[in-house]
Amino acid sequence: MSRHLMKGNEAIVKSAILAGCRGFYGYPITPASEITEAAAALMPQVGGVFLQAESEVAAINMLYGAASAGVRAMTASSGPGISLMQEGISYMAGAELPCVIADITRGGPGLGNIASEQSDYHQVVKGGGHGNYRTLVLAPHSVQEMADLTVLAFELADRYRNPVVLLADGFMGQMMEPVEFPEVATEPRLPRWAVAGTDASRGNVITSMHLDTDKLEAHVRQLEAKYFITEQREARAEDWRTEDAEIVLVGYGIVARILKAVAAEARAAGLPVGVLRPITLYPFPTLHFQRLTARARAFLVVEMSNGQLVGDVRLALNGARPVEFFSRVGGNAPTHLEVLAEVQDLARRHLAGAPAEEELIVHV
């Protein structure tokens, strides 16, 4: 297998096509536009459909159509565009349609800026659209993972018949690293529930509507059961030198990369520091967190958003250990030095021999 140097955004499209994606409907937005551009170049060459929609509202509804017709399809956008897609995402979750949405996050709120943030966490991980639904959310932290998690995203989307979001900060989309791709492409397959304009699929219907209250309740319960299964089976996280860690750093995407550098420096200075990196943001890897409380005295959550991930970490730990928080926003990335200073401060307060039981949750 050979390695190719490319941007995360480009890797997503190549990986998607190898995974059998044959539909891309999108609307340009920095820092996600390379995805749309690469799809424009490649989709027609592989017998797929590329279409630039008139808006993100239309784009997500085109995904709804493509998915209804049984095609593996995707779109890509960022903050404001994802906001416009929320209606369609809710419809797709309701109609149980698979699709993959790449959110290459920029700065907000409003027009914000086009530099890298992680401030779409809430609108992506917690929903954003109406109704009782969830999206599965994968958070790559390297260009290789931009490719690999795209494949996983399509698999999960099909397995659970649900939208899956690849949530990546702008850096992930823009940076180049070596990537390896699978040597064989996946054959696109027509799901049996699709409406494909054929005799065999004539009896199928795609709808999110259940007028009868009991029927809608049953439908929502069935969705819940599905999400519960994903929570049991699909939660993923990377443990990085956490075996003996007393301080655990938590972050995803580019932040996780910075945290690894911080942990390496902290360890060189004799501090037992590790990194826990959620790979799935929903389902949240709760067990991974709970497992670490045997050794860990404190957790430090670092985000490029104003306290969005930290809420899930606190829920996962449920008060078992103090959870502290550090963030940079506006498009600034935390430097390893400023995080290191936080870690040293944390170590002074939590590793001085005080028994963990006596500690309180510190809200910063």
């Binding site: 190898l18 539909g23 159509g65 494909a196 304009g197 795609i206």
Partner: protein, 489 residues
């Protein structure tokens, strides 16, 4: 939606085959539709089902139902069914049709759905000439939600949200969507018909059939607007409401063909079959012809751990310099990362990137303390000079670094690289002269790797030759500078 009518009303004495015999998706009263007596939707459903039967396209048909009173169309039509969000049916239809070009796709929409919330989707689907059929049911009101104003509500017409009657000054004029769409070049067929009397109904049925037939023949975008009675919301009897269509609505929305390009229209080209699966990796450019994943042995991988920051004006080739370095590192079997600054900084005309090369996996691709800073202009030097690792290098594109720049503890090679490049043939090769100097510092990186990186990234032979010369020149400048230092030292 109106409440369930007490007297159930059959829309047809003989049911078309494209209707289900019993409506099992309905919760109750499975032999009747939910439409009120005299409702235009029921009549239109029947003509649509008959046209589907006549054209023998039941198996291929996909009906997109909207949000509005006809949201339940999928209860009745025995075809492939997709229910869409309010106004979005043309977007959904677009993708179904493009995904399955052999299918016959019908976007069935009310006037609120199509002309208000979905005005963008219908306009663009029509403008792209999507080869679909749109059935546009205009009853001048939002019926399902109980009678609010629509863009098509007539002047003076009262509704629950225009209780004093629609006025042009306050709510604007009734929107003539079909006329608007007829100004576009792509649509092949647009006709407005009515359900005002039997003659009109017969004409409407013909128009619906034509609009479908156009799709079967692959001609292009067809839309039929149907002025349609809503006795319940209009608070009229079925007979009165039919008359109102004919005597009142028609004055605002004249019937007739607004576009007919079916004669001139060409049938759609037959789609090209997709390439075999085995060709896909090659087409997306990741077939196994790239760089070796593993070197023959660790010993072959150069011992190198380099953190570089490159900065300058946009257009100076800052990003390319970094990319050649990263690509060369990859070629040599190293781990590499390249991270550009993008966004607002690019707009202000500056550009910079972070490059790392290492034998070990790279943790953070962000370079805060570079071993080498390549400063292609003075602002970049000022911004980053104090971040350079002690003992590291600054390569500066200028005669000498300004006196007030703190470059203590680091080596500096300041040369007018732009001018040097200009003398070589083009000032724009300054980035490659500076890369040459940098490569001399990263001495372990094999020249063969640099050559193959440059070959992959610079396709124009003229530029390739110039860049190679520039690299040699840069290397020489660095060697000379080092020799001077050691002589002086």
């Amino acid at each position: 939606m109106s409440s369930e009518p007490e007297v159930t009303w059959e829309i047809a004495s003989s049911k078309p085959a494209s209707f289900y015999s019993t409506y099992e998706r309905k919760d109750e009263l499975q032999h009747a539709t939910h439409y009120c007596p005299g409702c235009g939707h029921g009549i239109i459903h029947k003509m649509l089902a008959q046209a589907i039967d006549e054209l023998s396209i039941q198996d291929r048909t996909v009906l997109i139902s909207p949000v509005g009173c006809s949201v339940f169309a999928y209860y009745y039509f025995d075809v492939g069914n997709v229910q869409a969000a309010h106004g979005r049916a043309p977007a959904v239809a677009t993708a179904v049709k493009r995904s399955r070009p052999g299918s016959i796709v019908i976007s069935y929409q009310g006037d609120g759905d199509l002309s208000a919330i979905g005005s963008a989707e219908i306009l663009h689907a029509a403008n792209r000439g999507e080869p679909i059929t749109v059935i546009f049911v205009n009853n001048a009101i939002y019926s399902m939600t109980g009678g609010q104003m629509a863009p098509t509500t007539l002047l003076g017409q009262t509704s629950t949200t225009s209780p004093r009657g629609r006025s042009a000054a306050h709510e604007g004029y009734p929107l003539h969507v079909s006329e608007l769409l007829a100004t576009l070049e792509a649509p092949v067929y647009i006709e407005r018909v009515g359900l005002g009397d039997n003659k009109q109904v017969a004409q409407a049925a013909r128009a619906v059939r034509r609009a479908l037939e156009n799709q079967v023949r692959g001609l292009g975008f067809s839309l039929v607007e149907i002025l349609s009675p809503c006795p319940t919301i209009w608070k009229m009897s079925p007979v009165e409401s039919q008359r109102w269509v004919r005597d009142v609505m028609e004055k605002t929305f004249p019937l007739g063909v607004l576009r007919d390009h079916t004669q001139a229209a060409q049938s759609e080209a037959v789609p090209i079959p997709p390439p075999p699966l085995s060709m896909i990796p090659g087409i997306v450019g990741v077939a196994d012809a790239g760089l070796p994943a593993e070197m023959t042995g660790d010993a072959d991988v150069p011992a190198l751990d380099l953190q570089v920051r490159v900065a300058g004006f946009g257009g100076q080739g800052v990003l390319l310099l970094g990319e050649v370095l990263a690509e060369a590192g990859l070629d040599a079997g190293l781990e590499v990362s390249w991270l550009p600054s993008y966004g607002p900084e690019m707009r202000s005309g500056t550009s910079n990137c972070h490059v790392r090369l290492s034998r070990e996996p790279i943790d953070s691709p962000l370079v805060t303390h570079p071993d080498v800073l390549v400063a292609m202009n003075e602002p970049s030097l000022r911004k980053f000079c104090s971040t350079v690792h002690p003992g590291g290098w600054i390569l500066y594109n200028g005669e000498a670094s300004p006196e007030d720049c703190d470059c203590r503890g680091v080596h500096v090679l300041a040369r007018p690289f732009t001018q040097i490049a200009n003398n070589l043939g083009d000032a724009r090769a300054a980035n490659m002269v500076m890369l040459g100097a940098l490569l001399e510092i990263a001495g372990n990186l094999p020249q063969s790797s640099v050559d193959s990186a440059l070959g992959r990234l610079v396709r124009n032979p003229k530029w390739l030759a110039l860049d190679e010369t520039a690299l040699v020149c840069g290397r020489r400048l660095m060697r000379e500078a080092r020799a001077e230092v050691s002589h002086a030292g």
